[in-house]
Amino acid sequence: MRRKGRVTDRLLAVLLGALTTAAGAAVALWGLDAVPRWPSTLDLSQIDDAVVDTEWWPWAWAGIGVLLALLALTWLLRRARPVSRPPALSRASTDAGAVRVDLDSVAATVARRLEDMAPISAARGKGVDARGIFRVEVRAAIDEISDGPAIARAIERTQHELDESFGDGRAVCQLMVSAPSRWQALRRRGGTTPRVH
């Protein structure tokens, strides 16, 4: 999820929360009869005659409802699917010419390499151009039979290879390891022999 999306969600949530709180406070104050200017009994007969009994009201009500539902559905679908983004490209010029590198392809290769070297699986890589520094983000699941030093060695070696390819400090590898999902764990356990003490 992008930073812009997070900020939008936060603003929307604050707005909706504030509106709901204000509505709740108004109803509670009316229930307590705390505001003398407000009538203690609701009289909606005028609204009934002037709005609800008209020909156009059902259409207007349906229009507002459908518009709200469409906005809500669009928002939900945008949050449900992964964010699509243009491929991150790195450009470099030398005397021999200009080079353009697709950072996502590099990240995918780094992910595969890490998977081969370290006790991890389901590695996915993403390349990000972070203000001139190429960041390779790799997300992976840790193997159940694994150890820290093996993962540390793999990432150190990967970082060394990136330094050799892009120059010292120009590319940074970030490996984020999580526990295997329930499905991954079940699939792996399915093929193993039960332990006997």
């Binding site: 999820m1 949530a13 909706l16 709901t20 820290g148």
Partner: protein
Amino acid sequence: MSSSLVPTARPSATRVVAFYALLGIALGVVAVRDLAVAQGWAAGKPWYESAIEGLDGLSASAAATAVGVVIGVIGVVALIGALLPARRTHDRTEATPGLWVSRPAIATLAEHAAERTPGVYEASAAVRRRRVMVRVADSEPETAQRVEDSVKRALDGLTDRRIVVRRREVKVP
């Protein structure tokens, strides 16, 4: 490392907006149903008419206050959710730059390292803020030290948390 991204979960603000989005969709369904009923395409009475009839003539009462308080509480919860920072999903490892590990991953490694230790019948692990708590079922008191060593080896370079082993003795027939 300055160029590292701190991995976080979706902020709770997204859940708050999702809740209101579902309400919006429900409202749309009700509005279309009311239109169908009002135009005579379906039998029944529009719900907006029932709502207006129900509210008309309503007097200020304790019940209205209670409803207002409930709505207000929902609003306050939404506001708190909107302002809460996103939860961090992975911890940075001090020993290895660039390596971030989630707490469930540490627990998985600790649990399996404990389970593979000779003499252990059953093991589970939980990661707290400052320690990794490993619970084992075994038959010998010496197993606890072996489990601790085994878990330390497995987590070397991944976390600085203290390893605490709690054992439960089981009788072997």
